[in-house]
Symmetry: C2
Subunit: 342 residues, 2 copies
Amino acid sequence: MKKKVTLKQIAKELDVSISTVSKSLRDSPEISEDTRLKVQAFAKLYNYKPNLIALSLKNKKTKTIGIIIPEIVHHFFATVISGIEHIANENGYNVIVCLSDESFDKEVINMEMLANGSIDGFILSLSKETQQKRDFHHIIEVINQGMPVVMFDRVTNDVLCDKVIIDDSLAAYQAVESLINNGMKRIGLITTVDYVSVGKLRTDGYIKALSSNGIAIDEKLIMKIEDIDNCSTQIERLLKDCKLDSVFAVNELFAVTAIKVAKKLKLRVPEDIAVIGFTDGIISTYSSPSITTVSQNGIKMGNQAAQMLINRLESEDEENEQYITEVIETHLVQRESTPPLK
Amino acid sequence: MKKKVTLKQIAKELDVSISTVSKSLRDSPEISEDTRLKVQAFAKLYNYKPNLIALSLKNKKTKTIGIIIPEIVHHFFATVISGIEHIANENGYNVIVCLSDESFDKEVINMEMLANGSIDGFILSLSKETQQKRDFHHIIEVINQGMPVVMFDRVTNDVLCDKVIIDDSLAAYQAVESLINNGMKRIGLITTVDYVSVGKLRTDGYIKALSSNGIAIDEKLIMKIEDIDNCSTQIERLLKDCKLDSVFAVNELFAVTAIKVAKKLKLRVPEDIAVIGFTDGIISTYSSPSITTVSQNGIKMGNQAAQMLINRLESEDEENEQYITEVIETHLVQRESTPPLK
DNA sequence: CTGAAAGCGCTTACAG
DNA sequence: CTGAAAGCGCTTACAG
């Protein structure tokens, strides 16, 4: 057991002052080559590494980024973390991850905890409950304290900060329109409750696509799902009652469940019913039939978010810069759950 | 913009000493009720929260756990992080996540970085490259410095520390034996190269199961896959050449790929060929047919690892305690890719 | 009951 | 060229 060595101990061993040791290790020109080399050799021998906590305190920056997301067991979020991590690492930052579990309180607690010195800035995606309550004081407060924040995916207009999103409404619009262009008329929508921002936007896109193509909106074809765990009964009702020729689902889980239900009802996918999902994750790839879906590049979103945050952190406090909202491109990934789309 | 307030500022405003402020906020009996209340009211008003970095430096503990895993975009690892996070949070710990990307160098760099004061202890799973090189000096060094380490899943006997694993060999044995008990004779194995510890163990289990049931080992039925991205060509060769009645795959990806390939070759699953996978993740659930698999409860493994680490951290330095290896239960989850197994 | 001092591990402006 | 001092934000043993 050999504990980590400190400047103080090196100083003592070498019978010089702590300042001299510190300067030597930082290659200060103030120090004579002799003592510099001597100190460096000794430090190397004892494998000296500066204590990062002490440096953080001194420098008032920690070189770590705080991430707060609703959950991690979710391919998209895991993907974003991965994207953040890589850019962070390249720039000498570490990443500390907190999960809100879709809970407002946990989101607040985690933010406050991290805001007390542990990190230099936040990257976050709102919990469902926070979106439902529309209470963002914890985020605004952190920003007011001068800590930069980048929001991604589940964002809100009520907070002014940098953001990374996709154009959920447009992507949904295009997906639904491509169904229409291929002759589909009775297009079901499986979506979330409205307070989930991205669900709402995708719903909007669906509605716009129908409207601008002269198809009347039929509320019965729209299934809003609150409780994801029991979505299959609701989806079964939708498929049974409504004689759909296709379905647009706002996430992978809804899409794959729709396929499972369709099979159960002896409907062939895509012949009897075509399915388009959202978020190009592991499920869409490995389901059979594999799922045609709107790609949502989490790695890119994470890269972008991290880069924006780091730019803020390292831009010598030019406070007045405008906030940026970066929109990541999406596209439709064609697979087996739809006929070849024109 | 109102920056966070410090003890110093409060002291100045109230015209008392920093010590008095500190003690008041910690409810020290040394302080008169009058000043205590005054200070507390003021602190509350200004929303004072102690700087955690300063506390870390002072207390020589950070209340954060470092996690190093090969990758995060992998359901099992995401699941483990989730398990760690929850126990950590309940105990007032935060979690800092680093990815080794299966690279030895990144694993070393990340460990050294975190070991320099940022965390109180590690939870880690070895990168492939580290397993291949069998070089664990970075881990041993950290342990020698007195920092507790818990390894999970991809562990090694060359490092003495607490560990959380499943009995990979036994689980594989049981899975393969259940195939045998249901009349399967030509059982293929899709596995990793041997240096991946868990792959090797699962291979061992397969071999033992055949041997102890009087089935000769046929090397041609064993496919060791190095490059996961192109596994489907190799798997196709296996299925084509070997007339298998069943396959045991050491992970989800191999299992689902085997199913895809089987379909392509017009083999029905499970009628013509039964498939058992390993790791009960999202793919196994949503593939069709859904995949019979060995469950590997990542949440539980994470919980356990976090609990063991925290116990170490909070056990008043009773150094001499023995290291523990905790074995998490597994079981076979029956789904559609096998006939009902007796 | 209050405060000055020392200390956690480091850096750096300043004196000598 | 070297070192003492101040400081990052905090706590706590000790004096008064």
